[in-house]
Symmetry: none
Subunit: 248 residues, 2 copies
């Protein structure tokens, strides 16, 4: 068995089982464990697999359990601070889910009186702890991944609302493709929210600026305000300054 085909075989096995032991492979292919180890190292070098003590794991396995760290937490706090300044007493506010929105919720001043609509459970929890904020939950099927309600009922409820402002956590934004996302249900929700709001505020860490995902939510011009942790005149945001978007 040639080295190339052996490595192909290993990749196949790893992807199939999500994990593999060096010792098993060694037996199965009938080569020494050293050889397997060398293969695993090379494949790991090529980012095809994740090598661990004793064997290897598939990339997908790793991803599925690797919860997104909140290391951009500080950035998100800055964003939240800026976003909060836009909210005035008496407003009706629509919000999506996402960790940035949670930070926004935590940053709300105690004396702010406003009504928040959301289908995001974690966001609702946060809003709930604010004394002067009225919370309206948008009901429907709960998506376990995103911890937000999704579906037709949610969308038609959103359409019934006429909100002053919509705060949207953004996963990818790009001057060409606008706001994009990877989850069909979430895209529908966001589109409905945009239509139901007088003003759309997009929140994103700069890391996600100029990235693209598969599904389109809206064009850049549909956004009224863009908030990142950067200063408005940062060079990364230069391409957006020409548009009619307000950058904060």
């Amino acid at each position: 068995m040639l080295k190339k085909e052996r490595q192909a075989f290993i990749i196949h096995k790893v992807n199939l089982h999500n994990k593999i032991l060096s010792s098993d492979l060694s037996q199965e292919i009938n080569v020494s464990e050293d050889t397997i180890r060398r293969d695993l190292n090379e494949l790991s070098e090529m980012k095809k697999i994740i090598k661990v003590h004793g064997g290897a794991l598939s990339k997908s396995f790793h991803n599925s359990f690797q919860h997104k760290n909140i290391y951009s937490l500080e950035h998100k706090k800055i964003i939240a601070q800026k976003a909060v300044s836009l909210i005035k007493d008496g407003m009706f506010v629509l919000t999506t889910g996402g960790t940035t929105i949670i930070e926004l919720a935590r940053a709300l001043p105690e004396n702010l009186q406003a009504t928040f609509f959301t289908g995001s459970l974690p966001a609702a929890f946060e809003y709930m702890h604010h004394p002067n904020i009225e919370v309206i939950i948008i009901g429907d099927r709960l998506s376990k991944n995103s911890q937000i309600t999704v579906g037709g009922a949610a969308i038609s409820k959103i359409r019934e609302i006429k909100a002053d402002m919509c705060f949207m956590g953004v996963n990818a934004i790009d001057i060409e493709n606008g706001i994009t996302d990877s989850d069909w249900d979430i895209v529908q929700l966001k589109q409905a929210m945009i239509e139901s709001s007088s003003k759309v505020v997009a929140l994103t860490i700069s890391e996600k600026v100029n990235t693209t995902m598969r599904l389109k939510v809206c064009n850049v011009k549909d956004i009224d305000v863009l908030i990142t942790e950067l200063k408005p005149d940062d060079s990364l945001l230069a391409s957006y300054t020409g548009t009619e978007i307000e950058i904060i």
Copy 2:
């Protein structure tokens, strides 16, 4: 089992149950408690979990801290255990809020496949962590006291549902006055739930049996099953045994 794999498993478990004991994990995975402790320390270092004496807690649910303080928790666990046995695969289940219902949610077996409708945020959080349970959130204004959605929209949504079973946390029950409560909105909700369910299961700690509040929810005869932490033949429940209510 590889180390990474084990740690992924631990993260999964923690997120599912919101808390986990080192001793349980040790047994389940069949490694020494030292190993588990080392894992928990590393995961805690990585901010994936919150390590506490005896085990670990999920990050998402820091509310679990309050968990210990729940009044007569042990009784509620017994009640939850009994209630769970009534739920079969494929059922549509309506639930109210309340700490007893939370315990019910935690007691649900992992392999149970069912659809749960609720307006209670804490309950929804619990259901969400169960892999095979579909959660439908009933939307409306969020009552901060009871952490449940209340109002006309919630009620009309409930009326659209035809559930197999309704689990109702009971605040006061009495053979004369039936189930009573003190919150107008909650009473409306509960009445709607009763109407929309083939079977009504009332859950209550024995302390609340033979007590009364101001607002009537329903008569005792509208209940199908009554669950307390007591044995069915306990003298406290004697007055209910004559009726057609099943006592568990």
